[in-house]
């Protein structure tokens, strides 16, 4: 399992620019707008747990 994970990560690293990926993720997570849908998604999962 670990070997497979390492293989997948190596394949991703081959095609994805790690610096760009880090800066993209950092821009998204520092955008305050991103946290609004995330909080609503978590609330939605609680609604679902109650109605199901």
């Amino acid at each position: 399992m670990r070997k497979m994970a390492q293989l997948v990560m190596a394949s991703i690293a081959k095609y994805v620019d790690r610096t760009r990926l880090q800066s993209t993720c950092s821009s998204v997570f520092s955008d305050v707008h991103f946290w609004v849908p995330l909080v609503v998604l978590i609330a939605g999962l609680f609604f679902l747990a109650w109605v199901s």
């Binding site: 760009r20 990926l21 993209t24 993720c25 821009s27 998204v28 955008d31 707008h33 991103f34 609004v36 849908p37 995330l38 609503v40 998604l41 609330a43 939605g44 999962l45 609604f47 679902l48 109650w50 109605v51 199901s52």
Partner: protein, 433 residues
């Protein structure tokens, strides 16, 4: 990327004729979205008895996944998708988040339909328009510089929708047991909240210049991923899930078809949001409420067993909500408001370091990159999709459900005419950009 000077989008101008043309196109897309999003719930209704809502939602999302990769492959080709991602890689994360919101909302709607019926549940989750207006105004400068008349129209329309929704919620409490009604109303309103919030990523994508066809391709990864997690968790593990899927092979076609029909409506909705914004595009596409009422009441005869006063209440409540949607839709954005939209686009460009030409072209419904030809992957996706529908269709059972066939043919014909008009207009005016 982003080498042009700051403020270039704010200072850019779109001719008044082009702006009006794009707004008219956005309105047509919104109306078509309503017809197809309304029709998407019909196959779900046909097979709802005896199946878990999680299984229904998962199979529907599988149909959505197929549609959201094959339709963009037919129209633009997958190479355009990779070019869009190169310009706006951050939107992949936003699209996946939007897809997760969609999946949870869609599952909630199935519970709502089960507990309340199609005709009541629809208007309740359409409160997502009000949520969308709030986010559009707060985050994307929609309705800024809009003047008191436009603000009044939007606030008045939202008020009408609220009153209509309350009438329907009251009727549901009288027709259905109180526990079912409470759960059904919570599920429908919860779906409204999630779908209303899902428009934050939509608007972000289109202010940043991403093509709607590229956005939905990544959106659907979030959808299928989240829905698979939910189905595995709630249905008792992978083995149980696979057993239930195998047991539902005879209705799989209907659920995949529901997902595919939803994609057609959603694509029209994406273009509506792009060209008239969240605060107008979503109320327009939420005319699916009326289509839901027509399908539920006329084609399925849901109200046959109801008292006359309750049936009239549903009609009055839906008409009030529809009037609210029309009022909101008629408050068209002027140049002052457009300038504030461009400010929001400039903010996105600057935050995520996007090429200014890419954003400017997209705001005018044009592409900054030359059109690419189709690849083997595009044809493989189209052939695969056709194969899946042909196989599931060949083993599908026709559900034993009484239908008013005249109404069914009429509703399908109107939806097809709207789709054809929208596709031709999108091609002529924007080449699907």
């Amino acid at each position: 990327m982003g080498q042009l000077s700051t403020g270039v989008i704010t200072r850019s101008t779109v001719s008044v004729e082009r702006m009006r043309l794009l707004q008219r196109l956005g309105i047509l897309c919104g109306i078509t979205a309503g017809a197809w999003l309304g029709a998407a719930e019909v196959p779900t209704k046909l097979v709802s008895s005896g199946l878990s809502p999680f299984l229904i939602s998962l199979l529907m999302v599988a149909g959505v996944f197929i549609g959201r990769w094959s339709l963009p492959a037919i129209v633009h080709g997958t190479s355009s998708i990779s070019s869009d991602v190169g310009n706006t890689p951050h939107l992949v994360i936003w699209a996946v988040m939007a897809g997760c919101l969609w999946s949870v909302a869609n599952t909630l709607t199935i519970f709502a339909i089960r507990d309340l019926g199609l005709s009541i549940a629809f208007p309740l989750w359409n409160t997502n328009a009000v949520i969308g207006i709030i986010w559009g105004t707060l985050f994307f400068h929609e309705l800024r510089n809009a003047g008191w008349q436009r603000w009044g129209a939007v606030a008045g329309g939202a008020g009408l929708m609220f009153i209509g929704g309350m009438i329907l919620a009251r009727i549901s409490a009288h027709q259905i047991s109180s526990v079912s009604a409470a759960k059904g109303v919570t599920a429908a309103l919860g779906a409204g909240l999630l779908w209303g919030t899902m428009y934050i990523p939509y608007r972000k994508a289109y202010l940043s210049g991403m093509n709607p066809l590229s956005f939905v391709s990544f959106f659907t990864i979030g959808e299928l991923g989240m829905m698979t997690i939910l189905a595995v968790h709630y249905l008792g593990g992978i083995a149980h899930l696979l057993r239930q899927i195998a047991g539902a092979y005879h209705v799989m076609f209907w659920l995949l078809a529901a997902g595919f029909v939803w994609v057609l409506g959603d694509l029209a909705q994406q273009y509506a949001v792009k060209y008239v914004g969240v605060s107008r595009g979503i109320p327009l596409s939420n005319s699916n409420q009326l289509w839901g009422l027509l399908w539920g009441a006329i084609a399925f005869g849901e109200m046959r067993t109801w008292a006359h006063t309750a049936a009239m209440g549903v009609i009055y409540g839906s008409l009030l909500m529809a009037a609210g949607l029309v009022v909101i839709s008629l408050s068209v954005a002027d140049e002052g408001e457009h300038a504030r939209w461009r400010e929001a686009a400039e903010r996105e460009r600057s935050r995520y370091d996007i090429d200014a030409d890419f954003v400017c072209s997209s705001l005018q419904g044009k592409s900054s990159a030359p059109r690419k030809s189709k690849t083997w992957l595009d044809w493989l996706l189209v052939i695969g999709t056709t194969g899946v529908f042909a196989w599931t269709g060949s083993v599908a059972h026709w559900p034993a459900f009484p239908l008013n066939w005249t109404a069914v043919y009429l509703l399908i014909a109107v939806a097809l005419v709207l789709l054809a008009l929208t596709a031709i207009s999108l091609w002529k005016i924007t080449r699907f950009n």
